[in-house]
């Protein structure tokens, strides 16, 4: 879902840079108050894992493929959407600067879509469903995060004049409803594994077991 340079005009890119810088600043503030000695290597290895898994494009039919984003997963593990925003900002920075994956001018929009939207939607969906079971909550959170992000992306392209409204929402919605299943499945597997093998890594799982 990485928008390349050219898909949205410069004025719109600038607006999303401003919005994303604000959220990244909030994420930095969160990290200063919440990251401890134990979080540092976990954050780093999660970033490496998300970078790697984003390169695995899975065919979904219709001549199309998709890959996981991972902001929802990071937010669930660190118990804050700001963790996902900070991590995705770093992943997108490396992808944009070194791998031509996502443009430089539009990076603010990509941080907004795949960082801010995925993190907030995924985290709060997960949090509200957590007492129904961790795997189910993680799956729904992952799916909803990716799907919502695609809808938001489509609307940005409609504002840009690049995508027609209805055709954009239908195509982006359809493809990402399917790609969301990949996001949901991997998120559920990872959260389920950590919750059973290392619940001490999850702040919210410290007390009760479900």
């Amino acid at each position: 879902m990485h928008i390349p340079d050219g898909f949205i005009p410069t004025w719109e890119s600038a607006i999303f840079w401003i919005i994303s810088i604000i959220f990244v600043a909030l994420a930095i503030k969160w990290a200063k108050n919440n990251m401890d000695e134990k979080s540092v290597p976990l954050f780093a290895v999660l970033g490496a894992g998300i970078f790697a898994i984003q390169a695995i494009n899975v065919p979904i039919g219709m001549g199309t493929s998709g890959h996981m984003v991972g902001a929802a997963m990071a937010s669930m593990i660190f118990d804050s959407p700001y963790a996902g925003i900070l991590l995705l900002a770093l992943v997108l920075l490396i992808q944009g600067l070194f791998f031509a994956d996502g443009g430089i001018l539009v990076m603010g929009a990509n941080i907004f879509n795949m960082g801010v939207i995925c993190a907030f939607v995924g985290y709060y969906a997960f949090k509200s469903l957590r007492n129904r079971g961790i795997s189910i909550a993680a799956f729904v959170g992952g799916w909803l995060a990716l799907f919502t992000s695609a809808i938001v992306c489509s609307l940005e392209l409609t504002i840009a004049g690049t995508f027609p409204l209805v055709a954009g929402l239908s195509a982006m919605g359809l493809y990402h409803a399917i790609i969301g299943l990949i996001e949901g499945a991997i998120t559920a597997i990872v959260l389920g594994y950590i919750a059973s093998a290392r619940p001490d890594m999850l702040k919210w799982a410290g007390g009760k077991n479900e």
Partner: protein, 117 residues
């Protein structure tokens, strides 16, 4: 500092090493198993994009086609002229870069230890 026993520490480093190994394995496999089909956004764009809007955006930033305004050393997760080996190397470089950047940023930002004594 807390009374983190040796047992907890080695359990943690095993968990982190395990995660890094999984990331590296995914990175090595990616060039072989990833689908070359366009992703959801590119695929939608191929079908519905407004050519005029795209053209005027590209003209504004001086590009011939959509992509990036800055040249990337490992564009498309490859190293020019190196084929599959280059793709694997590009992935491994990316994973290690991410590990270093993630560690560095988190280490700089982490909350300062309370100095009690």
């Amino acid at each position: 500092m807390s009374n983190g026993s040796l047992g907890t520490n080695s359990k943690n480093s095993k968990f982190i090493m395990g995660g890094l190994i999984i990331a590296l394995i995914i990175g090595i496999l990616a060039p072989f198993i990833a689908s070359g089909d366009p992703d959801g956004l590119e695929s939608a764009a191929e079908k519905i994009i407004n050519g005029n809007a795209l053209e005027s955006n590209l003209k504004e930033i001086g590009l011939e086609e959509e992509g990036t305004v800055a040249p990337s050393p490992f564009a498309d997760y490859a190293i020019p002229g190196m084929d599959k080996i280059g793709e694997i190397a590009a992935m491994l470089i990316g994973i290690l870069l991410m590990m270093v950047l993630g560690y560095g940023v988190a280490a700089i930002l982490k909350k300062k230890e309370q100095i009690a004594n």
